[in-house]
């Protein structure tokens, strides 16, 4: 028994086993299940265990799939660009312009306040604001900017992306701020000593050193947007689709094998995107 306790390898395995068990049961097993089910067959009233490529053949043979995947990438790309722009600016302001740590913490907490309510509520609260007779339209009409309500404010790609940016910008702010706080302030002085202007310092010193944070934020935002279905459904008024909605529609029709096949393809796509991103930036130092 004593020898058993002294065995380093054994105690190591014991220590990782709780987490490994949880991940096994709640992550690996479901994914394996999804992969298996994706090869099953389904009719209108039954699901038949099988090894059949029909689901994938149908998926890759349909023009809708490509359109929906393209739409998903479009949402991800636009949301990424906007959250990066806003997130970087906010983090830069917090890290380099706010001198006192108390204020930094206070303002940072301010950024997290929206997170005290659920995603859905924050999303839905846009509807009365953007609607045909909503606050935005009535304000614009009363200021005389427009004569009749703007139709594209709600139930449009604009609304979807607005909600995405609103929901996910903080996921960009946090990692970027975290990386920026670790940049030695004397590097900025050294750059200024070498004659760099503010823009040159930003481009040659701060952005390169913030890359790992940008990358982590990018991974958060891209995976969240690509996996989302509820935002697209609510904010587009069911007029646009992304891959998440494709899956949720299949599930609603109890077409589990087809939903699983789509999910597997989406998972593979997201993993390829992340793998590509990680080729460019080493984030190990940030973890």
């Amino acid at each position: 028994m004593e020898r058993l306790l002294k065995n380093k390898a054994l105690s190591g395995w014991l220590m990782v086993s709780p987490l490994a068990a949880i991940l096994m049961f709640f992550l690996v097993l479901p994914i394996v299940m999804i992969v298996i089910v994706s090869f099953w067959r389904a009719t209108e009233f039954s699901i038949i265990p099988d090894f059949d490529l029909e689901n994938y053949q149908y998926l890759f043979g349909s023009a809708v799939t490509y359109k929906v995947f393209f739409n998903t990438f479009k949402y991800a790309a636009i949301t990424w660009a906007l959250t990066l722009g806003i997130g970087f600016t906010v983090a830069y302001f917090l890290a380099f312009h706010i001198r006192s740590q108390t204020w930094q913490i206070a303002l940072f907490l301010l950024c997290t306040i929206p997170f005290w309510t659920s995603n859905i509520i924050r999303m839905i609260s846009w509807i009365p604001f953007l609607g045909r007779n909503g606050i935005a339209n009535s304000a614009l009409i009363s200021w005389g900017v427009i004569d009749e309500p703007l139709e594209w404010l709600l139930f449009s790609d604009f609304a979807v992306i607005l909600a995405f940016v609103h929901l996910y910008t903080l996921f960009m702010v946090v990692p970027i701020f975290n990386t920026m706080m670790r940049i030695d302030k004397s590097l900025v002085e050294a750059a200024r000593d070498a004659g760099a202007s503010g823009a040159q310092i930003l481009w040659n010193v701060i952005i390169p050193l913030t890359k790992p944070g940008i990358m982590i934020g990018t991974i958060f935002v891209v995976t969240l947007v690509m996996g989302d279905f509820i935002t697209v459904r609510f904010m587009s008024g069911s007029q646009s689709a992304n891959v998440g909605r494709l899956i949720s529609n299949d599930i609603a029709l109890l077409a589990y094998p087809s939903a699983s096949a789509t999910a597997v393809v989406l998972l593979a796509t997201v993993l390829i995107v992340i793998a590509t991103l990680l080729r460019f930036v080493d984030i190990r130092k940030e973890l």
Partner: protein, 328 residues
């Protein structure tokens, strides 16, 4: 007169942070092509003074002149100064050669030309072989050489060094200070070096500026500051001195100028309280009248010819000319 025009001068330079006074109306004239050390305990305002010269702090009042022009309000890069930071502040994402070439890149010099110039600078500090490494892959001493090359590539008239040796181990520190001195001679520009180590200042400096409480306590050639301290603070901070109160006032005398003689033969009688062997010397601490302690450094030969032990009564003598009156 031509040399005169390269001089750096501080005129009544004052820096306040809120109500705290960091630098209190300092005036000093740094000779061109000289090595000056700003010496003092931490918080005495020496680093603030350096950062004011560099342009990383603004003056509250007063001015900084270099080569007879007022540079107090110029941005750091247009002052003709370059700064070497305490932790070197090398850009971790750039290779050694790109770090050195950074200021040229900012000026818009094309890649080939700036690499050539940076290469020259690296050979000056003997770092050519490691040009493509990242700063993380260098030792402290190597990082310092790179930081030096990066500062020197801007062709400054004055190089400002903020505690450049404090991050190095003692052995390397002594080697690097020889190198700093060699570079200063070769380049013929002024170095202003901030340090809290008096041995470093003595070894390097043509002129030492001792600071305390945001003011200059004493400034002068290294030998003069060490040999003839004007205040008790300077005498204590430089070390190797006894500060004693005699009927005529307070005086400083170097420990190695105090000689030990037989009881009742010296200028003063003392009782040995401690003896410390220090290799070349033996330090004998004696208590004299007025409950003051005086340290006499004896060459070890002399001591071991007539050893003393705590409790012995001895006589202490010195040349009157070696006694320096202190003003405060």
């Amino acid at each position: 007169m031509a040399a005169q025009r390269q001089d750096l001068e501080l005129v009544n330079v004052t820096k306040r942070y809120g109500t705290a006074l960091a630098v209190d109306a300092i005036s000093h004239h740094f000779k061109s092509a000289s090595y000056t050390c700003l010496l003092g305990p931490s918080g005495c305002g020496k680093s603030s003074t350096l950062r004011i010269i560099a342009g990383h702090e603004t003056v509250t009042s007063g001015s900084v002149l270099l080569a007879a022009r007022d540079i107090s309000n110029l941005p750091p890069a247009r002052r003709g100064t370059a700064m070497m930071f305490q932790n070197y502040a090398l850009f971790p994402h750039l290779s050694v050669i790109d770090n050195v070439a950074f200021s040229l890149k900012m000026k818009g010099v094309d890649a080939k030309e700036r690499r050539a110039q940076a290469g020259e600078m690296l050979s000056l500090v003997d770092m050519t072989a490691l040009a493509d490494r990242l700063p993380d892959q260098l030792s402290g001493g190597q990082q310092q050489r790179v930081a030096l090359a990066r500062a020197l590539i801007t062709r400054p008239q004055v190089l400002l060094l903020d505690e450049p040796l404090s991050a190095l181990d003692p052995f390397l520190r002594i080697r690097m200070r020889t190198e700093l001195r060699r570079l200063q001679r070769e380049l013929g520009i002024s170095f202003v070096h901030v340090t809290h180590g008096q041995d470093e200042a003595l070894a390097l400096a043509d002129e030492i500026v001792v600071m305390n409480n945001a003011r200059i306590e004493q400034a002068g050639p290294a030998r003069e500051v060490f040999n003839a301290p004007r205040t008790a603070f300077v005498a204590r901070f430089m070390g190797g001195h006894n500060v004693i109160a005699l009927p005529g006032g307070h005086f400083a005398i170097r420990s190695d100028e105090v000689r030990v003689s037989a009881p009742d033969t010296g200028l003063m009688a003392g009782q040995v309280v401690a003896v410390e062997y220090q290799g070349n010397h033996v330090s004998v601490t004696a208590r004299i009248a007025g409950d003051q302690e005086v340290i006499a450094l004896m060459p070890d030969q002399h001591f071991f010819n007539e050893p003393k032990i705590p409790g012995d009564t001895i006589g202490l003598t010195w040349e009157q000319s070696n006694l320096h009156e202190l003003t405060a």
